[in-house]
Amino acid sequence: MDKQKQQQFFQQIIEQHKGILFKVASTYCPNDEDRQDLIQEIMIQIWQSIHKYNDEYKMSTWLYRISLNVAISFYRKRSVRTRNQAELTKHMDGIIADQDSEKELHLSLLEQFISELKELDKALIILYLEDKSHDEISAIMGISLSNVGTKIGRIKDKLRTRFSQLKA
């Protein structure tokens, strides 16, 4: 793939799958500025890995691996690069401002409970909530199918307990 085609492919991937980047980033970084740094780091890693992509895996599997690996390991608060960052703006105001409704309240609670999970558990719950099959979760995480079921079961129990504690 020549450089220009690679650039087009990259821009196309980002445009089509930006939701993955934002969901992973917003789960791992509650702070807006940190989240922008993380998204940029994920994009850099995607760009640097693009020549290695093969269609043996689904594009989403490949992107989740990169996004989660970067979010878990590479990210740190202080960016070491020269800030040549484009603005990635996210408006959460409308989502969490109105906490009157029960749904909005549950949503912010869910976000809070997920933020309390360990790094790898966060990854698993994102994939579970995104309705990924156990096969795909296994391929993304690199753990056995039976382990996927067990771990997700435990995390769901944790979340359920947290919600029920609030109701009690």
């Binding site: 990259f10 490949w62 390991s73 590479f74 990635l88 976000e111 360990k118 790898l120 995104e130 979340l159």
Partner: protein
């Protein structure tokens, strides 16, 4: 809250999120044109610099010491000779670990499964601990290289108190650090003080993951 409710809740949040995202297309274009370096890659220049400086040190040191061993052993100050030899030997071992780290950094592929990539990063971290442990072992020889045979003959007990105390203290500290710089002590203040800095941050982060990765493999 049941599974369906959880998933619906998550989905509704991110549906709104996606609609409201102003993805600047220029951002993707910029990244594909800039010569950018990833965070892990940013560790490489420092490691290469250390490796080069270390190689020069070991190279020059080995060459000088070899000359002394071959041609002037009987006249040489044995304290200096043996202290310097130990120092050069330990530095050389540490350099090999740096070479291993550079190879590992190049081998880290973020598009591999999450647990596998994290394990590789943890191995990188473990080797960093080894560099530090080896380098701390050098502490005592920095206190003995200036000793000489005439000191043994001429100095009285009082004169020896300070240098011997310093050497014993450094020896104890280096042995203690050699055995205590390990994953289990990562939350101790002294440990975080030693591993505080740009070079260590990603490795400290991956250290925290060790337990999680291990439980994923049960």
């Amino acid at each position: 809250m049941n599974e369906l409710e959880l998933k619906n809740l998550w989905q509704s949040a991110h549906d709104k999120l996606e609609v409201s995202i102003e993805m600047n297309k220029k951002n993707a274009e910029d990244i594909s044109r800039m010569k950018v370096r990833s965070l892990l890659g940013s560790m490489k220049p420092m490691k290469i610099l250390v490796l080069l400086l270390g190689a020069v040190w070991v190279g020059v040191g080995t060459s000088l010491l070899s000359q002394i061993y071959l041609h002037a052993f009987s006249e040489a100050n044995k304290f200096f000779l043996f202290s310097a030899s130990i120092q050069i030997f330990l530095t050389a071992i540490a350099l090999w670990v740096y070479v291993y780290q550079l190879i590992t950094i190049n081998m880290v592929d973020v598009s591999e499964p999450v647990v596998e990539t994290q394990k590789r990063l943890i191995r990188l971290k473990m080797s960093t601990l080894w560099v530090t442990r080896i380098l701390f072992l050098q502490l005592p020889v920095w206190t003995t290289f200036w000793w000489n045979e005439s000191m043994l003959a001429d100095w009285n007990l009082v004169q020896w108190i300070l240098p011997v105390t310093v050497t014993v203290a450094f020896t104890c500290a280096s042995i203690w650090l050699f055995f205590n710089i390990k994953y289990e002590n990562r939350n101790r203040k002294w440990f975080q003080l030693i591993f505080n800095g740009k070079e260590w941050t990603p490795l400290m982060k991956s250290m925290e993951l060790l337990e999680q990765v291990e439980t994923r493999e049960e």
